[in-house]
Symmetry: C2
Subunit: 82 residues, 2 copies
């Protein structure tokens, strides 16, 4: 059994309104040293697989097909023992 931790973030240069809202919110409660907040998704998935290489290929495919929008998002992931 393996576990995949996938992180999907907006690409650099793509405006991140949610991040901006959080930055403004933090500033309004006194955290004025926080700049450039970017918000993405983290997915944790249990994989019924034992082979790391197969799991990597599979997760790449999932990201390309469904988890990330390649036009505006980039992804990275790590595979570990569950």
């Amino acid at each position: 059994m393996l576990k995949a931790i996938v992180t999907v973030m907006l690409k650099k240069g793509i405006f991140d309104p949610q991040g901006r809202a959080v930055q403004n919110g933090l500033e309004s409660i006194g955290f004025d040293k926080v700049k450039g907040v970017r918000i993405g998704k983290q997915l944790e998935m249990d994989l019924e697989m034992d082979d790391r290489a197969t799991a990597e290929t599979s997760v790449h495919e999932m990201c390309d097909k469904m988890l990330a929008n390649p036009v505006v998002e980039s992804y990275s992931f790590e595979i570990k023992e569950a």
Copy 2:
């Protein structure tokens, strides 16, 4: 200049409908080896700070006050050089 990477996930045992929807979606396109998908947020923040200990205290406070809902979410973070 430091960078904080904050991960906010639903606590174990809290139902994650978004994760479930993604799991179903993946299954429907053939990824049937994926189980137990959980989805959280990842925040990347630039901090205009140089002291790691101060930054850690500050990020803890941000999470407690705004970034995570302590009732249903748990958070973790790492601080690194920007």
